[in-house]
C-alpha cells in the first residue's frame, strides 16, 4: 500500500505543483491517474517512486504482507532508495532512456538486478506485441516499438509497484489492445499499477480505480465500482432538468450523459466523461466521494 500524506511539492517556491495532498493506493489494483496538462501527474509518480523528494509531507510504502495478506511493519520511504525497495519498483517514463543495447543485451544487463524477473514472461509479452527479433538495437527502433520493449521488460520484472507514465502514447491500435491484455495478465493481488494517462479511453477497461488531480489537489480518488454506484453513464435521446445531468455531449446515438445514480442502475464507466463531469461539478464530487482534499 502507498500512503501519501500532506504532500507538497514545488519547482519554484511561489508556484506549488502539489499542495498538501493525501491519497492512498492499495495493492491488487490498477489506478488511472488523470489530470490536465501540467497538473502534476508525473511529479506525483516521481515523488512516489523516489525520483523526486517532497518539500513537505511524506510518502510511505508498505510492500510486505503476511500469509493473511495483512501488512507487515516494514515500510519504505522512497527517497531512501533502499535496494529491497528498488527491486520492487519499475518506472516507465513517457520518454525512454537512450541506449546502444540490443533488446537481448538490455535483458541481459538489466534483468539481473530484478530478482523476480521472468525471461519467459518477457518473451511472451514481446510476442504479444509482435516483436520477434531480440537482436534489434533499441536506438534503431521506432518510438512505439521501443516503448513496447520497455513495457514488456517492466512487466516481466514482476515488481510489486509499476508506474507507467503515458504508456499508450505512441502505440498503434493493435498494440494498445495488446497492452491491455498484457497488463491484465501481469496483474496479481500483490501488485499496484499506477498509470498516468491522457488516453483515458484506451485504458478504461483495465482501471480499477481513478485518481483525478486538479490544480495542486486531488479532485477524485475512487474505485470504479464506487463511481458506477454513484454515477450513471449512458446515452439518452433527450434530457430534462429533472435528470440532474452532470455532463453531456453529443453522440451519434443521442446524448452521452453522466448523472447521479439514484436508483443503483448499472452502467459502464466512461473515464473521459467522468473526467469532464468532475471538472464541471467539483463541489458535488467532493460531497459524493467524500474527498477531504
Amino acid at each position: 500500500m502507498i500512503e501519501v500524506k500532506n504532500l507538497s511539492f514545488y519547482y519554484k517556491r511561489n508556484k506549488l505543483v502539489l499542495d498538501d495532498i493525501d491519497c492512498m493506493f492499495r495493492k491488487g489494483r490498477i489506478y488511472g491517474l488523470l489530470g490536465k496538462n501540467g497538473v502534476g501527474k508525473t511529479t506525483l509518480l516521481h515523488l512516489i517512486a523516489g525520483l523526486k523528494f517532497p518539500k513537505l509531507g511524506n510518502v510511505t510504502i508498505n510492500l510486505s504482507y503476511n500469509a493473511n495478506g495483512i501488512e507487515n511493519e516494514i515500510s519504505y520511504t522512497p527517497q531512501e532508495r533502499k535496494v529491497e525497495f528498488l527491486q520492487d519498483v519499475f518506472f516507465l517514463n513517457e520518454e525512454m532512456p537512450e541506449s546502444d543495447f540490443t533488446i537481448e543485451q538490455m535483458e541481459k544487463y538489466n534483468a539481473c538486478f530484478y530478482p523476480n524477473f521472468s525471461a519467459e514472461d518477457f518473451n511472451n509479452y514481446l510476442q504479444e506485441f509482435e516483436i520477434d527479433n531480440k537482436k534489434q538495437e533499441l536506438k534503431k527502433l521506432s518510438f512505439g516499438t521501443k516503448k513496447k520493449v520497455y513495457i514488456a521488460f517492466g512487466l516481466a520484472c514482476n515488481t510489486k509497484l509499476i508506474f507507467l507514465d503515458e504508456p499508450t502514447n505512441g502505440l498503434d491500435i493493435p498494440s494498445k489492445s495488446s497492452f491491455r491484455k498484457i497488463v491484465m495478465k501481469a496483474m496479481t493481488e500483490e501488485k499496484t499499477i499506477i498509470i498516468s494517462t491522457h488516453q483515458a479511453r484506451d485504458l478504461q477497461n483495465v482501471l480499477d480505480s481513478i485518481v483525478i488531480l486538479d490544480k495542486t489537489k486531488v479532485l477524485l480518488n475512487a474505485d470504479a465500482e464506487e463511481i458506477t454506484k454513484k454515477l450513471w453513464f449512458g446515452i439518452e435521446e433527450k434530457v430534462s432538468v429533472a435528470d440532474k445531468v452532470l455532463y453531456q455531449e453529443d453522440n451519434v446515438a443521442g446524448l452521452a450523459i453522466v448523472r447521479e445514480n439514484k436508483g443503483e442502475e448499472e452502467s459502464n464507466l466512461d473515464v473521459e466523461m467522468l473526467f469532464n463531469a468532475a471538472f464541471l461539478n467539483k463541489n458535488l464530487f467532493n460531497e459524493l466521494f467524500n474527498n477531504k482534499k
Binding site: 523526486k52 532508495r81 544487463y109
Partner: protein, 242 residues
C-alpha cells in the same frame, strides 16, 4: 548492504554501454600522441633524435585523465530519462558510487596509459622509418611517474573532474574547469598580493615559504582536496534526482 555481485553487474553494464566511446577515445588519443612524437622531435647532429618523452607523456596523461574523469563517470546520469533509469536501478548508492569511482580512478588512468604507450610506440616507429640512424634519446624531465607527488597531482585534478562529473549535468568539463582555474587564479592573485605587501619584519615568513614545512602543508592540502572531492561526489550522488 554492499553486494559485490551487484557491483560487478553494474560495472559490466557500464562497460558494455560505453565500450565504443572508450575505444574511440583510445584511438584518438594514441593518434594525437603519435603525431606529436613526429612533430616535436629535435634532430641532433649525431643523427639522433630527442623527444621529451617524459614531459609529453605526463602532460598528455594529466590532461587526458582530467578530461576523461569529468566526462566518463556518471555518464548515465547526464540525460533526464537515463538518469531516472539509473536512480531506480536496484543497486545501492554505495554500489553505484563505487562503480564510478573505479571507472574514474582506476580505469581512466589505465586507458590513458595504454593509449599513450601505443601512440608513442607508433611515433617511434614513424621516426625510425623516416631517419636512417634513428636513436631515440629521452629528454630530461621532472615529470616522471616514479615520483609519488606527480601521481598525487594527477589524482587531485581527477578529483575535481570527478566531483564536476556528478555535480553538473550539462557542459561538465567547461563548468568544472572554469571554476577550478578561476579559483586557482584567485588564490594566486591573493598569494601574490600577500607576498608583495609583506612587512619587512615578517621576513621570517619568507624563509618559511622556502622550507619543507610549506611543502608538507601543500602535500597534505592536496590529499585533503582529493578526499573532499570524492566525499562531495558521494553526497551529491545521494541527492541526485530526476
Amino acid at each position: 548492504m554492499f553486494s559485490f555481485k551487484r557491483f560487478l553487474a553494474l560495472l559490466k553494464r557500464d562497460l558494455m554501454i560505453n565500450k565504443y566511446p572508450l575505444m574511440g577515445y583510445m584511438l584518438i588519443m594514441a593518434g594525437v600522441v603519435a603525431v606529436m612524437m613526429v612533430f616535436t622531435k629535435i634532430p641532433l647532429p649525431t643523427n639522433s633524435v630527442i623527444n621529451d618523452v617524459f614531459t609529453m607523456f605526463y602532460l598528455f596523461f594529466n590532461i587526458g585523465c582530467m578530461i576523461m574523469a569529468c566526462t566518463y563517470p556518471f555518464k548515465s546520469y547526464d540525460k533526464k530519462y537515463n538518469r531516472a533509469e539509473m536512480i531506480l536501478l536496484p543497486a545501492s548508492i554505495e554500489e553505484k558510487f563505487a562503480v564510478n569511482f573505479v571507472l574514474a580512478f582506476i580505469l581512466v588512468p589505465v586507458i590513458q596509459f595504454v593509449s599513450l604507450f601505443v601512440g608513442m610506440e607508433i611515433g617511434h616507429l614513424i621516426n625510425w622509418i623516416r631517419f636512417d640512424n634513428y636513436t631515440l634519446l629521452y629528454g630530461y624531465s621532472l615529470y616522471d611517474f616514479s615520483k609519488y607527488y606527480n601521481w598525487v597531482m594527477v589524482y587531485v585534478f581527477m578529483g575535481f573532474s570527478f566531483f564536476g562529473a556528478v555535480f553538473f549535468q550539462k557542459n561538465k568539463l567547461i563548468k568544472t574547469w572554469a571554476i577550478v582555474f578561476g579559483l586557482m587564479l584567485l588564490v594566486s592573485i591573493g598569494f601574490a598580493i600577500f607576498i608583495v605587501n609583506m612587512d619587512y619584519e615578517a621576513q621570517s615568513l619568507r624563509t618559511f615559504f622556502n622550507t619543507t614545512a610549506l611543502k608538507i602543508v601543500v602535500q597534505i592540502a592536496m590529499h585533503v582536496v582529493f578526499v573532499l572531492c570524492v566525499v562531495g561526489a558521494y553526497f551529491q550522488l545521494r541527492k541526485e534526482r530526476s
